[in-house]
């Protein structure tokens, strides 16, 4: 037996392979580490173990030891220690790895168990895969490929259950497809802390439903759809819209708050169809909010800006940049950056402020944190603005200082990177006194009043990074192309810097990071390509004195401030 590398590791044997696993690992996870797949339905790594699907039955055994002498009993045929295999199969989810535990997943007994469970799960299943939204990402379908009979021995009538129960505003349930794994029930109890789902009736007639008078309406309800192993719980928004195998998955970050939940954006031919959480055990586990899934609608929102304009007139990009350059070189400039911009954009925004000698502002957004995956700071990247040096103090919700400066006649030109200045506290009268260069995606008061309007991209159409509340640097990627007429913010900012008489700067993240790493101490030695999928935690101590707004969340405890 290989000796474990650390006292917290124990050695187990899965299908003849010895592997050291952390204490407390169950057999499913231990097998995963050994590269062996143990099929399962009800087990979910982030929920309690109930052991009800019985799909993960495996054979387990312990090395044989002579009870009298405590010495290992050797198998004369192989010379190795004999293994006492248990007479019955054990469920992998509820069996914890013990030192010396042996697991077999390829024996006839295990195969019989899996085939038996599959047959049982399918006898009352409607088998409506052709019209089922889960098809293509269905655990039942997948395991049926491996362990299904291929024909049915069941000739009795199938159970009839409710087909389209609206459990809440966003979730629709098909009870006939439900395999009663109870993942959704456990999620609501254990993660969302909203005890709303349960089973009624018993035996084969057991039916999932909401408690009387309650609805599945919490802001995390769509996670039940994600973890449903079959097509029982479906997203009312996504239902019957698209076959999942046509969709391209792009890793992204939720921009709802400073939590920065990791997400996957599912798109086809330039159209986003849904957003789901991406597992990150240090940030959001496998969860995300319902509200964060709606942001993709901004891509094709009715007010999406797509035409470059100088005043009321359509213009080319060159002409617009030139016009902006004249304004910027006229002096008395102020720059309004955004906590929704990427680190790279904030870096270029700072460059723009530096070369025009402009004061830089940021618009704060705050709300009530839900102690889970939405924090009180509703900007995804305030820390980016701090780290890149765009701002020194934390932003307020209203641009009071800028308003005073306008009233005092100290400002002639404002560059706003995606922030509606009226919403940020300026009055229309104040706005009328200045020339606004506006980079934005949505028609609003500021776009209507802008002297130079430069349509830009949403988070789903560009590459970049955010720094979340944990000072974790996280990457997002372009899922779909932007509309014709919209230009990447980085290109616009780099050209504005050049037009204002500043240096010639890179306009795509990988090259920009060379400059960032060289210039910003906290980001030294980081390359854009080198940032892992699950992010990179930066040292936040230089900014420990700042009073960030977040309270405790799922994987976040605010640092105590003195």
């Amino acid at each position: 037996m290989i000796q474990p590398a650390s006292p917290d590791l124990i050695t187990v044997n899965v299908d003849g392979r010895e592997i050291a696993v952390p204490k407390g690992t169950n057999v499913i996870e231990a097998a995963r580490l050994a590269g062996v797949d143990v099929p399962h339905f009800c087990y979910h790594p982030k929920l309690t173990v109930v052991g009800n699907c019985r799909m993960c039955l495996v054979e387990t055994g312990m090395p044989a030891v002579d009870p009298a002498t405590k010495t290992p009993i050797l198998d004369p045929a192989t010379g190795k220690q004999k293994v006492n295999w248990g007479p019955r199969p054990a469920i992998g989810c509820a069996t914890n790895a013990a030192p010396g535990l042996h697991v077999r997943t390829t024996t006839q007994m295990v195969k019989d168990c899996r085939q038996g469970v599959m047959e049982f799960l399918l006898i009352n299943h409607p088998l409506d895969c052709p019209i089922c939204d889960q098809a293509g990402e269905c655990m039942l379908q997948e395991q049926a490929t491996g362990y299904g009979r291929g024909y049915s021995r069941y000739i009795e009538p199938k159970n009839v259950k409710p087909k389209r129960t609206r459990l809440g505003p966003r979730v629709t349930l098909d009870d006939e497809r439900c395999i009663l794994c109870s993942r959704c029930i456990r999620f609501c109890n254990e993660v969302a802390k909203d005890d709303v789902l349960g089973f009624v009736d018993r035996g084969s007639y057991s039916t999932l439903t909401c408690y009387p008078g309650k609805q599945l309406e919490n802001n995390y309800s769509l996670n039940t759809v994600d973890i449903c192993p079959v097509g029982a719980l479906t997203s009312t928004d996504f239902r019957f819209k698209m076959r999942v195998w046509f969709l391209k998955q792009t890793p992204s970050i939720d921009i709802e708050s400073s939590v920065g939940a990791n997400t996957l954006v599912w798109s086809r031919e330039g159209v986003i169809h849904r957003i789901t959480p991406r597992r990150n055990d240090q940030v959001n586990d496998t969860w995300m909010s319902d509200s964060g899934r709606l942001f993709y609608q901004r891509v094709r929102a009715p007010g999406r800006l797509a035409g470059i304009k100088i005043g009321d007139q359509s213009a080319t990009l060159e002409a617009a940049i030139a016009a902006a350059g004249r304004l910027l070189q006229g002096g008395s400039v102020a720059v309004v950056g955004s906590g929704q911009s990427s680190v790279e954009e904030q870096y270029l925004t700072r460059q723009l402020a530096d070369c025009t000698a402009a004061p830089a502002y940021l618009v704060g957004r705050s709300g009530v944190g839900d102690k889970l995956l939405i924090s009180a700071d509703r900007n995804p990247n305030v820390r980016g603005a701090v780290v890149t040096g765009l701002i020194k103090a934390l932003p307020t919700a209203k641009l009071e200082e800028l308003a005073i400066a306008i009233d005092a006649g100290q400002v002639k030109t404002i560059v706003s990177v995606g922030e509606d200045l009226i919403a940020a506290g300026l009055t229309p009268a104040q706005l009328a006194k200045v020339a606004v260069i506006y980079l934005g995606t949505q028609a609003d008061w500021t776009s209507a009043a802008a002297r130079v309007l430069l349509p830009s991209l949403t988070v789903f159409e560009k590459n970049g990074t955010f720094i979340n509340q944990q000072f974790r640097l996280q990457k997002f990627s372009a899922a779909v192309p932007g509309p014709a007429g919209a230009t990447d913010d980085l290109v616009l900012l780099a050209q504005l810097v050049a037009a204002a008489g500043g240096p010639s700067l890179a306009s795509e993240p990988a090259s920009l990071w060379t400059a960032l790493a060289a210039e910003v101490p906290a980001l030294s030695a980081i390359s854009f390509r080198g940032i892992p999928e699950t992010g990179l935690v930066l040292d936040g101590t230089p900014w420990a004195a700042l009073a960030f707004a977040e309270g405790a969340g799922l994987h976040f405890r605010p640092a105590a401030r003195t």
Partner: protein, 449 residues
């Protein structure tokens, strides 16, 4: 003819014996409790261990061992849960104790509680026993008024309360962890073991003893006569007396109490119960409640068994099988709950299995896949067969479904629903095949539960 030895059922059906406290006291009631509370609690535990008492609920697990498994170091309270959810078809012993001699049971409970330092005991009584629950409540009130139950019993510092909780009508509530879940106010989904052994993580995640009503009555008699004296009753490893609830096609069905192992199945059915009905012959018997495997008349059981320290050959006809836990296990069935169900040659085994399967299909809690889907499937197959659409392959199919359930479920219900099918098909396979050739019966002709 074998003589009954009535220990638990001493006063059952005795003319003039009533279920009130005064009558119980006239018959020496609560004297054992009085004796016990004057001694250290560990003594009772020792006596129970010495007695070799095995649980009378179905599994036959040694009671003393069960008590020693209790996690006494956790610092959490220890609970006693009395399993009075007598719902195994064919079993009707606990209800007579509750109805006619409730104080015997309460005394057994109090002795057990005192021995294990239990401060709260719960009697989980089957929902279909409303009268039993009423009688128990009344008996507890009487006992409390007389200071046998409640604070500082019999002038000692020891206090213990007994609460009655009525079930809502589910067979699975007789499974100890399902019962605990139900008692906690949840759906009675049995818990996974490990880690949820009641002795460690039972009621409210505290160490808990779950004992059957009859078992607790035996505890009273063990405390009265001493463990060694009790161990002399019955046969080694199968001590004490046992109540057999005989139902079905015999001349004198009913309940009979005998020393364990001192009586054979043949003696019970032919001598005690008067043999088959006129003109009939016995065909099969289920010896331990409907979930036990069926035994077929004409079968022989051969092998080696342990007598004392040595292994001895045995060769039994069904009638020779001694009625104890070990012998019935050797014959391929089990003593179970003591419910003996007798079938004569008028019975169709397909229809009998249809009835049993209808019960288990209806009672599966639905928590885990094999039992939930398998029991319902077997129910539907046998129902179809008796309704005249049997196919030749149905017997093999039934057995295969049962094989896919047994040993793969969360609780023992998997075995309970699989064993009847496995044994019926194995032993009466020809009857199942012949059924396919039978003309269709009108569905109304056979009323399944």
């Amino acid at each position: 003819m074998a003589e009954q030895r009535r220990l638990i059922f001493q006063h059952i059906d005795e003319p003039g014996y009533s279920n009130d406290l005064a009558c119980y006291l006239r018959h020496g009631g609560y004297e054992v409790l009085r004796k016990v509370v004057a001694k250290p609690p560990a003594e009772v535990v020792d006596e129970v261990k010495k007695s070799g008492l095995r649980g009378r609920g179905g599994a036959g697990f040694p009671c003393g061992v069960k008590w020693t498994l209790l996690d006494r170091k956790s610092g959490k309270p220890i609970y006693l849960v009395v399993n009075a959810d007598e719902s195994e078809p064919g079993t009707f012993k606990d209800r007579y104790i509750i109805h006619q001699d409730p104080h015997q049971k309460l005394e057994g409970i109090m002795i057990t509680c005192f021995a294990n330092n239990v401060k709260q005991a719960y009697v989980y009584i089957r929902g279909e026993f409303p009268e039993g629950a009423r009688i128990l409540e009344a008996a507890i009130a009487e006992a409390r008024a007389a200071n046998f139950v409640g604070p500082n019993i019999l002038g000692t510092p020891y206090s213990c309360e007994i609460y009655v909780h009525r079930g809502a009508g589910a067979y699975i509530c007789g499974e100890e962890t399902g019962l605990i879940e139900s008692l906690e106010g949840k759906r009675p989904y049995p818990r996974i073991k490990p880690p949820y052994f009641p002795a460690v993580l039972g009621l409210y995640q505290c160490p808990t003893i779950v004992n059957n009503v009859e078992t607790l009555c035996h505890v009273k008699h063990i405390a009265a006569m001493g463990g060694e004296a009790y161990a002399k009753i019955g046969t080694p490893n199968n001590t004490g007396t046992r109540i057999f609830c005989v139902s079905g096609q015999v001349k004198k069905p009913g309940y009979y109490e005998f020393e364990v192992g001192k009586l054979t199945l043949g003696q019970l059915l032919n001598e005690v119960c008067g043999g088959p009905l006129p003109g009939r012959t016995f065909k099969a018997v289920i010896p331990g409640g409907s979930s036990a495997k069926v035994l077929k008349f004409g079968e022989r059981y051969k092998g080696k068994r342990k007598v004392g320290a040595e292994m001895v050959d045995f060769d039994w006809a069904l009638e020779d099988v001694p009625l104890d836990f070990d012998s019935l296990a050797l014959a391929g069935s089990m003593g179970g709950s003591g419910g003996v169900i007798v079938m004569d040659d008028s019975v169709s085994m397909v229809e009998a299995l249809g009835n049993i399967n209808a019960f288990y299909g209806h009672e599966s809690c639905g928590q885990c896949t094999p039992c939930r889907e398998g029991s319902a499937w077997m129910q539907r197959v046998t129902a179809r067969m008796v309704h005249g659409q049997a196919r030749k392959e149905d017997g093999a199919l039934l057995k295969n479904i049962a094989d896919q359930i047994a040993g793969r479920t969360i609780c023992a219900f998997g075995e309970a629903c699989a064993w009847p099918t496995q044994s019926f098909v194995a032993k009466f396979g020809a009857e199942f095949e012949a059924y396919a050739a039978k003309p269709a019966k009108s569905p109304a002709a056979i009323e399944l539960v």
